[in-house]
């Protein structure tokens, strides 16, 4: 009896009890969907966030005020000692052709005509920000050096601001009010999307000088520093630290690269992926136990058939192969069906919730196919062995 024959026999047996075969497969299908989909969602979110962070530029690092050595994001600062003069100092003393772009952030209200938008991020920047941050203008022009030097009241708005305040009107040249003061719109940035739950397009850029004056503060939120060559990053970072240490103490600032932020995030996300995957794997194991259960019942039910086959000369191994093939077919079909359904589900999710960019990974597919085949084998072995070792006389007598 070759493999094809035993496959034929198995398919025949499965067909003879369609509902039962279907329900057993369903256990595997659900397990596979759980694994594939959860892992894919986790990986999708991960690749999206990685993309966003990398979109900031891999040759980018930042100087934050205060000491951040106690972990990610948790700046423990008392007084912000990072001033714009430090940025100028860096511009003068840094080598490696770095681009220094200081930033001041404030949250404020913007208004155009009768439409008001609260809690908008107002970002004071220099004219080199667009280049340093790798974020281009879509309409109009970015802030010019002259605008910054002359403390002009001019601004560039994000896509969300344009959508909310201007709707279909062309915003370039119009005047909006920021914190009660009038600013002329010189351009609109291209969309940058979300970073976690923060809408980067809900942002207005104004000259950093104007920001200092309007908000009455010359403390910086952070400084973007871009090195033209990625290889120069470590040395440039060291140099930045040295320069800043001449006027600041170690606790007054933190130099951090995007890579460090990214690796911290990746660590968390891998942990999350493994966790979600393991939870889903449990349901796959439950499906496997279902197979074992049904195969055991099936062996008992078909004792007579086994007896007949043995009387006609079936070897123990041939009976074992037949039942094992059956278990593997159930789990394999279940696995493939699960993957197909996952694909459809992933498509539906990514259409209705664009925030989740679900990417079905080849790895998840391969792993779940291998795993479901393994499961069929593992959970099928015992019932199949039991069937193969049945005594033909006992089996023939079974009613």
């Amino acid at each position: 009896m070759n493999l094809w024959e035993s496959t034929e026999v198995s398919i025949d047996a499965l067909k003879s009890n369609k509902l039962r075969s279907f329900l057993t497969m369903l256990g595997v299908v659900i397990g596979v969907i759980a694994v594939v989909l959860l892992v894919s969602i986790a990986l999708g979110v991960r690749s999206q966030i990685t993309g966003t962070i990398e979109g900031l530029g891999s040759n980018l690092y930042m100087v934050f005020p205060g000491s951040m050595s106690r972990g990610m994001g948790g700046g423990r600062m008392t007084v912000n000692k990072l001033k714009i003069d430090h940025a100028y100092d860096l511009m003068q003393k840094s080598g490696y052709n770095v681009v220094i772009s200081p930033v001041i952030n404030k949250v404020s209200t913007v208004r155009y005509g009768k439409t008001t938008k609260n809690a908008t991020l107002i970002t004071g920047v220099m004219s080199n920000f667009s280049a340093a941050r790798n974020w281009k203008v879509k309409e109009g022009a970015f802030l010019r050096k002259g605008d910054v030097d002359a403390y002009r009241r001019i601004c560039v708005i994000g896509q969300s601001i344009k959508r909310i305040l201007f709707k279909s009107i062309d915003p370039v040249g119009k005047e909006i009010s920021i914190a009660g003061k009038g600013f002329k719109v010189s351009g609109v940035m291209e969309s940058k999307g979300q970073l976690f739950d923060l809408d980067l397009d809900d942002q207005v850029f104004i000259p950093i000088t104007t920001a200092q004056r309007s908000f009455g503060s010359n403390s910086l939120s952070y400084i973007f520093i871009q090195t033209p060559r990625v290889e120069d990053m470590p040395v440039a970072m060291e140099q930045t630290k040295k320069i800043l240490l001449t006027s600041l103490s170690q606790d007054d600032f933190t130099v951090k690269s995007q890579g460090e932020t990214l690796s911290a995030f990746l660590q968390i996300s891998s942990l999350l992926t493994v966790m979600l995957g393991s939870i889903a794997a449990i349901s796959l194991i439950v499906g496997g136990i279902g197979i074992m259960n049904i195969m055991t019942v099936s062996v008992t039910e078909r004792t007579k058939e086994i007896g007949i086959r043995k009387a006609l000369g079936a070897q123990d191994g041939e009976i074992i192969t037949q039942f094992l093939t059956e278990a593997i077919i159930i789990s394999l079909i279940g696995g493939i069906a699960g993957i197909v359904i996952s694909y459809i589900a992933a498509f539906i999710i990514s259409v209705s919730y664009p925030i989740f960019s679900v990417s079905i990974s080849l790895l998840a597919i391969i792993v779940s196919i291998l795993f479901s085949t393994f499961m069929g084998t593992f959970f099928g072995v015992y019932p199949a062995y039991k069937a193969g070792r049945l005594d033909p006389i006992e089996a023939l007598r079974y009613e």
Binding site: Q315, G317, I393
Partner: protein, 198 residues
């Protein structure tokens, strides 16, 4: 019966089939001998319910490396010899008791065995169909097939050349059948079907 059929091994003594001693064989070797040398006919037919007559007859080929191309041809040949070639596509539940037993006989013949072991072959069917089975078995016997038939029915037993009486697991008497019954003649003696249905 089970020991002759290589379903079981004897604790004492030996069994030799066509010069092959089977009493010390492994499970696997016994399975091989069953496939090649033994044809079983059971009281309850023991056909696979899901498979049609042809597939049932071909079942021994699956376990015996029978050349694939010749399987169907040979199966149709034996079905023809039991008079059921027109029913090859019928499943067991679409056949009468007598027809089922004839399919079982065809299956027993498929691998051209050394001996046919029949366990109460007429036990589950009416006497008319039973006699038709006996006609078939007598014909096979005339053609040179060794048939060992177990029965409680003296009438059926007298269709054989020799009767071995067993009592409590021991041979009590071996007798030559002097007036061997001919199943064809016995069938003539039965009342006609119309008379029964009255």
């Amino acid at each position: 019966m089970n020991i002759i059929g290589c379903l079981d091994s004897p604790t004492k003594g030996t069994i030799t089939i066509e010069g092959i001693e089977t009493s010390r064989m492994s499970r696997s070797e016994l399975a091989y001998v069953r496939n090649k040398k033994i044809g079983f006919i059971f009281q309850s037919f023991n056909l696979l319910a899901r498979a049609n007559a042809l597939s049932n007859v071909m079942l021994p080929f699956v376990y015996g490396d029978y050349p694939k191309a010749k399987r169907k041809e040979r199966a149709m040949e034996v079905l023809e010899s039991v008079g059921l070639s027109d029913r090859w596509n019928h499943k067991p539940n679409e056949l009468s008791g007598g027809q089922k037993q004839r399919v079982a006989i065809a299956r027993a013949l498929a691998n051209n065995p050394a001996i046919i072991l029949a366990d109460e072959p007429t036990g589950n069917i009416d006497s008319r169909s039973g006699l038709e089975i006996m006609i078939l078995l007598q014909r096979l016997n005339r053609e040179g097939m060794t048939i060992l038939c177990v029965t409680h029915d003296r009438f059926i037993a007298e269709h054989a050349e020799m009767i071995i009486n067993l009592l409590d697991g021991r041979i009590s008497r071996i007798e030559e059948v002097k007036e061997r019954k001919d199943a064809r003649e016995e069938l003539q003696k039965l009342p006609k079907e119309e008379e029964i249905s009255d």
